[in-house]
């Protein structure tokens, strides 16, 4: 099946458009995705349903068109997703004719491999790691393309574009391979895998500007909407069966949107009236808080991200 064309000019195949002016961030990301396909036997794209992984899918589509994207998507499903992101995921897969693999955290809990957290801050965020590593092993993936960006978090700022993981999925952050110029070395031993990050040098604003200029569709929860929420530790939590709430925590209906989307138990909302993309971009430009300021998973300790990454997290 030939995938649908993403470009703005939908009806004219191969239009003569004169001169191509490159967007250098786009070119770099496409270059990295093509290197993954050139250097590895069984790559996969880690798809969370968030804006960064949607942008990755768009870039992968551009990188190989008119050939279909030559790797599947892997979604690690915590079972605690925003329903909007799941509906969006399935539509995208359908539209582009992609192959989607879903690995369920619930299955690992049922099998006794993972143990559910309990209490006020219970989240399945950490449990994703075991499910991810099992899926990598089961399918024999040797490269996982991820949407992480270096501007997100201080441990991520340290990571290579091709980041080698050992057979336990561990990141040896104190002993990374040198990575000089644009020359990527993805040679690994059997059982190891590489995490590849095409958006390494993009900022949050770069992603939003790209989504706007390329007319990329994203789930509705990124835009302002009314939602039942409650405030805890000065963060805005969604009311949901997946989020623990004390009885005395008061709920309210507010205009909010999500700036980053993990699952419901680890993503806090921000108050917002930005219902369309120009307003979102303006809001981010003026924001005094960083993107991951609304990630409950990062709040656990100063080195929370690094520790998760050492163990094989995204």
């Amino acid at each position: 099946m030939t995938p649908q064309k993403l470009s703005k000019i939908e009806n004219v195949e191969f239009t003569i458009n004169n001169i191509l002016e490159p967007n250098l961030l786009e070119s770099e990301a496409i270059y990295i995705i093509r290197e993954v396909v050139g250097q590895f036997e069984k790559p996969v794209l880690l798809f969370s349903g968030g804006k960064d992984s949607i942008t990755l899918v768009h870039l992968a589509h551009k990188a190989f068109y008119p050939a279909p994207i030559p790797f599947p998507l892997l979604h690690i499903d915590t079972g605690h997703n925003f329903p909007e992101t799941i509906a969006f995921r399935d539509e995208l897969v359908e539209k582009l004719g992609l192959k989607l693999i879903v690995a369920h955290v619930q299955d690992d809990i049922d099998a006794g491999i993972s143990k559910e957290e309990s209490g006020r801050y219970a989240s399945r965020n950490l449990l994703q790691t075991a499910t991810l590593l099992n899926a990598i092993e089961k399918h024999g993936f040797d490269a996982c393309i991820g949407g992480a960006r270096r501007d997100e978090e201080k441990a991520r700022a340290k990571e290579r574009v091709f980041s080698v993981r050992n057979e336990f999925g561990e990141w040896d952050e104190k002993n990374q391979r040198p990575e000089v110029f644009e020359l990527l070395n993805g040679t690994i031993d059997h059982g190891q895998n590489v995490r590849a990050f095409p958006l390494s040098n993009w900022t949050e604003l770069d992603v939003w500007n790209y989504i706007r200029s390329e007319h990329i569709e994203i789930p509705s929860i990124y835009f302002a909407h009314q939602r039942e929420v409650f405030i805890r530790d000065s963060m805005i939590w969604s009311v949901s069966p997946h989020v623990y709430k004390d009885e005395d925590e008061v709920t309210q209906k507010s205009w909010v949107r999500f700036r980053t989307v993990g699952d419901m138990s680890c993503t806090a909302a921000v108050f917002s009236h930005a219902t369309e993309i120009d307003a979102v971009i303006e809001e981010i430009t003026d924001s005094k808080i960083s993107e991951r300021g609304a990630r409950i998973d990062d709040k656990r300790s100063e080195g929370a991200m690094e520790k998760r990454k050492q163990q094989g997290y995204f």
Binding site: P22, Y31, G38, P66, A157, N185
Partner: protein, 411 residues
């Protein structure tokens, strides 16, 4: 999109690289409130009466524990005039490979020197590495001026020693700026400091804002990454080649020569995401079709137009060794030039340019820089790095460990 400037810090450990970057972020209001708060809290917990800005970039737990930078951190910020990508690199000799990682992807080096200590062995090593990389813009920031009473004499003395280094490692295309600063106190970072009234040039940020990057290349080329064969009904006979246009612009009708096979053809069409273009500017990721069916595979270079190049099975190069296992003249290695890989043998041929302080042998060991003769199993492009930065650089991969063991510059 704003014009992006890529910068790497350099200089010995504790000369103030991370503090300068943190200070730049702070002064340009690029540190969000939550990140600034984290720095305030950590500084207070450590008992400091000032803000420890190195915490903005030293992102690893071990780095914060030891108060040093181990690996390069990439930091992004922008002013009204342009965007910056800064690679904050480690100063320790032990982590030179990480410094090279940062420096090789930058257009500008900010070399810090501690005003009290002056030029140190690592200052020289990092100057030399930037010399090998042919970094065109160097900013020498003489830091910790607050600890030498903002003395003009001290500044001029250090300036002189660096100018002597520049004579030793000459490069006609290089510009060096000198600026006296205190990263900790904020002198000459974004505004001229009253403490250095004798200094009439620009503060750091203004120097960076005024730098114009002009990387000149001599050869337009496409280095093939993937062969695109959709094999769908609609595109049954489509055979395209995926690559990034480097070294100049590419147009339909341009003639090309395939390296290594030597076959010739012409560019029939240029695509991106299904749109067709007459011309693609330098830096575009594209898919091209050729006019006739010749054999092109991943790793091949398409040299565009009548650009001259040489094919060779033996080259001379300068090599920085980055692996804990020393170079062995009896081993074979992989040489990766762009996306092309060939087997090779390495032989140390000249004087070492820079030696690890502990290495007494002639072999090239970790952090050594020397001249080598390389024999390759197949012909490769022998264009020198000075002639064309894209083509004249390569990495050496140790097949036994898969490590990137060295980075080389063809002479």
């Amino acid at each position: 999109m704003k014009n992006v400037l890529k910068i790497a810090t350099a200089g010995s450990v504790d000369d103030g690289k991370s503090t300068l970057i943190g200070r730049l972020l702070y002064e340009t209001k690029s540190l969000e409130e939550d990140k600034l708060k984290a720095i305030e809290t950590s500084s207070r917990n450590k008992g400091y009466d000032y803000l420890d800005f190195s915490l903005a970039t030293d992102g690893l737990i071990a780095e914060r524990e030891q108060g040093i930078t181990i690996d390069v951190a990439h930091i992004y910020f922008s002013t009204n005039l342009r965007s910056y990508i800064i690679a904050d690199t480690p100063g320790h000799e032990e982590y030179t490979r990480n410094m090279i990682t940062g420096a090789s992807n930058s257009d500008v080096a900010i070399i810090l020197v501690d005003a009290r200590k002056g030029k140190l062995p690592q200052t020289e090593r990092h100057f030399l590495i930037n010399h090998l990389l042919l970094t065109n813009h160097i900013v020498v920031a003489v830091n910790k001026m607050d600890l030498v009473d903002y003395s003009e004499e001290v500044f001029l003395e250090i300036k002189k020693t660096i100018e002597e280094l520049a004579i030793e490692y000459p490069d006609a295309n290089r510009t060096i700026h000198f600026v006296p600063i205190s990263a900790l106190k904020g002198d000459n970072i974004i505004e001229p400091s009253l403490n250095t009234s004798w200094y009439n040039e620009k503060p750091v940020l203004n120097i960076l804002e005024s730098i114009e990057v002009n990387n000149s290349f001599n050869t337009v080329s496409l280095n093939i990454q993937n062969v695109i064969r959709p094999k769908t009904e609609q595109y049954h006979d489509f055979r395209g080649y995926a690559a990034t246009v480097r070294g100049g612009d590419l147009a339909v009708g341009d003639s090309i020569e395939v390296v290594a096979s030597g076959q010739k053809s012409k560019i029939k069409s240029i695509y991106l995401a299904g749109d067709s273009f007459k011309k693609a500017k330098e830096g575009s990721a594209v898919i091209v079709e050729l006019e006739n069916d010749i054999n092109v595979t991943r790793g091949d270079f398409l040299i565009v137009g009548n650009d001259k190049y040489v094919k060779q099975k033996s080259i001379e190069a300068q090599l920085c060794w980055m692996d804990h296992t020393a170079l062995s003249e009896r081993s074979t290695y992989l040489l990766q030039q762009g996306t092309s890989r060939v087997r090779c043998k390495l032989k140390v041929s000249g004087e070492k340019l820079m030696k690890h302080h502990l290495n007494e042998t002639d072999a090239l060991a970790i952090n050594d820089i020397g001249t080598v003769s390389i024999k390759t199993s197949k012909e490769i492009i022998g264009t020198s790095y000075a002639t064309d930065k894209n083509l004249g650089r390569f990495i050496i991969i140790d097949e036994k460990t898969n490590n990137t063991a060295g980075v080389g510059f063809i002479l």
